[in-house]
């Protein structure tokens, strides 16, 4: 596996970009080959499987124009889901079956324990399903070029952990790859890449050390320390995953390709509905379009809507990992969404519009919802349900409540991280003005000096060991 934040990746990226710019006619072949090589670094077996699944989806997509299109759609969905379930959930489901029926299944099928989760399988499965559904619903035509379709599925910046792209968003860009406008996107690409590297190397990797230590010793933590553990992981996860996503978007821009953004400072959300519009956006919109709406969405009454929300979020939880901790996390967010829907109705009846539109109410809502999110992340991070329950219990019911200089330092750090989140939001909102002022006020040598300093800081202060991204395991 080659990680984005490593020097070898940048060396390869530089070489590939040089060829890409020099040989516009060979761009598609180059991207196809590079994406295959990038994926194959994680293992030849998973790469062969991925190629096979891609080819199958390509022909299934074409078959959706024919007379038995519904059958082919279901065949495609079953193929993709079965592939994911086999590699990701076999062990999980067999373990449940063993417990429920009190039988020993695993010793009879020992290969299950050795199953290795192919890199990016959860992401490419969703991408292919949405492609087939979109073709079936005639939102997009089926791809007529296997090479283009392969790059749609495997484009190396997003193959491991997204963003999950729709056929209608990515395939048309790939079809015009020889004439794509690249120069204008380079600045944007480098900007996103720099932001991602900053978040990963200088924030997420440093927080990870403390978050891991707190979670490892969670049994002995009091209420304050448990909250610190949850806060730290909350920020570690955000900075880690958004770093990956922004690097993916940035790298794609260097090739002239636009990928969707996955995050919009989610911890400034005032409720669950807003949160899912700002957190892992390409997944939440996928869940909305291909699970929640097909289940009936909000078209079949309030109760059914709540049930659909709960089911969709539970599936989202299970998608993240084959463990009950993830399912509970998904259910918890389902309940938060239902809770917000009910509260919204209640709020409308109260009629206190002025109060609900005030800054104070917004601030209070963000504060409360941020803490509810932190509780959810405990389930997401905990190694077992028992650990998660114990930690949440201590967060809710005071236990060995003590504030010390030690905890004070961490609380200050967490406040700093939140401030950084606010700054990021401001930068995003004013990116164009900041970029313009930067170019207008500082001459090229000064800008180059600042970029040199930034590169040096990234290299010097990156951790010795290369750490992978949290979402790689999903």
């Amino acid at each position: 596996m080659m990680f984005f934040q490593t020097p070898e990746f940048f060396f390869c990226l530089f070489v590939v970009l040089a060829i890409y710019y020099l040989l516009p006619r060979g761009r598609m072949v180059l991207l196809a080959a590079v994406s295959l090589a990038f994926y194959a670094l994680a293992g030849l077996g998973p790469a062969a499987l991925f190629v096979g699944i891609t080819i199958a989806n390509y022909f299934l997509g074409k078959a959706l124009l024919g007379p038995h299109k519904k059958r082919f759609l279901w065949a495609g969905i079953i193929l993709n889901v079965a592939n994911l379930v086999f590699f990701k959930y076999t062990l999980f489901f067999l373990s449940i079956a063993e417990k429920v029926f009190n039988i020993a299944l695993l010793p009879k099928i020992p290969f299950v324990a050795d199953l290795v989760l192919p890199v990016g399988i959860s992401f490419y499965t969703f991408q292919f399903i949405s492609y087939l559904v979109d073709v079936y619903q005639q939102k997009i035509p089926p791809s007529q070029n296997l090479l283009v379709f392969w790059v749609f599925g495997s484009f190396f910046p997003h193959v491991v952990s997204g963003p999950i792209m729709r056929g209608g968003e990515l395939i048309p860009q790939l079809e015009q790859i020889q004439t794509l406008e690249i120069r204008q996107n380079i600045r944007l690409g480098l900007g996103y890449l720099a932001m991602g590297l900053f978040k990963k190397l200088l924030i997420a990797d440093y927080i990870a050390v403390y978050a891991n230590n707190f979670f490892a010793g969670s049994a002995s933590l009091g209420t304050v320390e448990t909250w610190i553990a949850a806060y730290l992981y909350t920020f570690q996860l955000y900075f880690d995953f958004s770093a990956y996503s922004e690097m993916a978007v940035g790298i794609a821009y260097l090739f002239g390709i636009k990928l969707n953004l996955n995050f919009k400072t989610p911890y400034l959300s005032a409720n669950a509905t807003e949160f899912w519009r700002r957190w892992h956006i390409t997944l939440s919109t996928w869940i909305r379009d291909y699970i929640y709406i097909p289940l009936g969405g909000s078209r079949q009454g309030e109760l059914r809507k709540y049930l659909n929300l709960f089911l969709a979020m539970s599936i989202s939880g299970l998608w993240h990992g084959a463990a009950f901790t993830f399912v509970i996390w998904g259910m918890y967010h389902g309940l938060l969404l239902i809770g917000h829907n009910i509260y919204r109705k209640f709020k409308a009846r109260l009629g206190l519009k002025r109060f609900f539109n005030s800054a104070a109410y917004r601030f209070l809502s963000i504060f409360i919802f941020f803490h509810l999110t932190c509780i959810g992340w405990v389930f997401f991070r905990a190694s077992s349900l028992q650990q998660a329950w114990q930690m949440v219990h201590r967060m809710v019911i005071p236990y060995q409540l003590n504030f010390s200089a030690y905890t004070g330092k961490f609380l200050l750090l967490i406040a700093g991280l939140y401030l950084l989140h606010i700054v990021e939001n401001w930068v995003r909102e004013h990116a164009a003005q900041i970029g313009g002022a930067w170019e207008r006020l500082f001459p090229p040598p000064l800008r180059a000096l600042a970029y040199t300093a930034f590169i040096l800081v990234l290299i010097i202060f990156s951790q010795g060991q290369t750490s992978d991204f949290i979402y790689f395991k999903f």
Partner: protein, 357 residues
């Protein structure tokens, strides 16, 4: 944008060229190797050696002693200024000797690492004319398969002496110390070992940290652990009762054939050091914490090692019984005055001029 890119490349090139000359040696080496910096990336040892070579050349140092060994010679858990290297340097100064001391010992270094370090010294053009080598009793005990006979420097051994590497490959494989290097790791190594910014990054970081401590008037902690004497520490006896530690004091007669990887590498070292000054010392052991020392088998093993070096005419000091029990920090490491005492004895012996192979 083009102009900015050109300036950026120019600045990066300037940094690449000037960096090796501006990173201060203290961040790489201060009376001993900076263990914090080296432990996560053994390739940093080459940077230390580069810097030492630079110092030797720029200051025209002709007479110097290199210390090799494990945590005892590195002098853990205490601070650098109380280490054997620092104390030996003081001893030479007081004795009116213009000898420089470079302590390149590192915790967990095994005999295979020591041999590889000697080859690396040759590679960097640093003389091995005057060596002091530290061994421990546990190094001779049969490995099962832990510990690996080369703990840090497998890649260097494979490069510098492929035949020896091949010889000990089964032992290293059994210890999980041989990881197949994939294409990405190879490319990473090629880049990070060649570009100065990557080579020096850990040292720059350490130096910046050092300056930050100075600026904020805080004491920088360079001790590796708790430097208090052993009798002030709780739980040591319980810790030493674990099989992992007990195995290191086994009283079974040592296998002194080349089938024992320890002997295999000692023979290599002795051969390499023919005609050079080499002083080997056996680290002492705390009798109170390791009662096996009184066992006849243990004593017989110590005698066997002594005879081994005597036959090969290698200067050898066995520190068992030469260090007061109160000077130990744990079962084998010492507190400052203990290392001082050892340094003095090593200084006397090294100046006696009887240690030429």
């Amino acid at each position: 944008m083009k102009k900015t890119a050109v300036y950026l490349l120019l600045f990066l090139l300037i940094i690449e060229l000037i960096l090796p000359g501006v990173v201060p040696l203290k961040s790489a080496y201060d009376s001993r190797m900076n263990y914090t910096v080296v432990k996560d990336n053994p390739a940093n040892i080459d940077v230390v050696l580069d810097q030492i070579k630079h110092q030797i050349d720029s200051q025209n140092i002709k007479d110097y002693v290199i210390i090799l060994g494990d945590s005892v010679a590195h002098s853990g858990p205490g601070p650098a200024d109380e280490s054997i290297g620092a104390r030996l340097q003081e001893y030479y100064l007081l004795a009116g000797q213009k000898k420089a001391v470079f302590n390149l010992a590192m915790p967990a270094m095994q005999t295979g690492d020591i041999y590889t370090m000697i080859l690396k010294l040759d590679e960097h053009g640093i003389s091995t004319e005057n060596l002091i080598i530290n061994l421990i009793y546990a190094g001779f005990v049969e490995r099962n398969p832990d510990p690996p006979v080369v703990f840090w420097l497998q890649k260097d051994l494979a490069r510098l002496d492929p035949a020896s590497y091949e010889q000990v490959t089964p032992q290293l494989t059994a210890n999980g110390k041989i990881a197949r290097e994939g294409p990405t790791q190879k490319l990473n190594r090629l880049i990070t070992e060649r570009l100065a910014i990557f080579r020096y990054k850990d040292f720059i970081k350490a130096d910046l940290q050092h300056r930050f401590y100075e600026l904020t008037d805080r004491q920088e902690e360079n001790a590796l652990g708790d430097p208090r004497p052993w009798y002030q520490k709780e739980g040591l006896q319980k810790l030493l009762a674990s099989p992992e530690y007990q195995r290191g004091f086994a009283v079974k007669p040592f296998d002194m054939s080349q089938g024992n990887p320890q002997i295999f590498f000692l023979e290599k070292i002795i051969k390499h050091q023919q005609g050079k000054k080499t002083l080997v010392f056996m680290a002492p052991v705390n009798y109170e914490l390791v009662p096996q020392v009184h066992d006849a088998g243990y004593q017989s093993n110590l005698q066997t090692v002594k005879d081994y070096f005597a036959v090969r005419q290698v200067a050898y000091i066995d520190f068992h019984g030469l260090v007061d029990q109160r000077l130990f920090s744990d079962h084998v490491h010492l507190i400052g005055p203990g290392y001082s005492l050892m340094a003095q004895r090593l200084g006397e012996e090294s100046l006696a001029g009887e240690n030429q192979l």
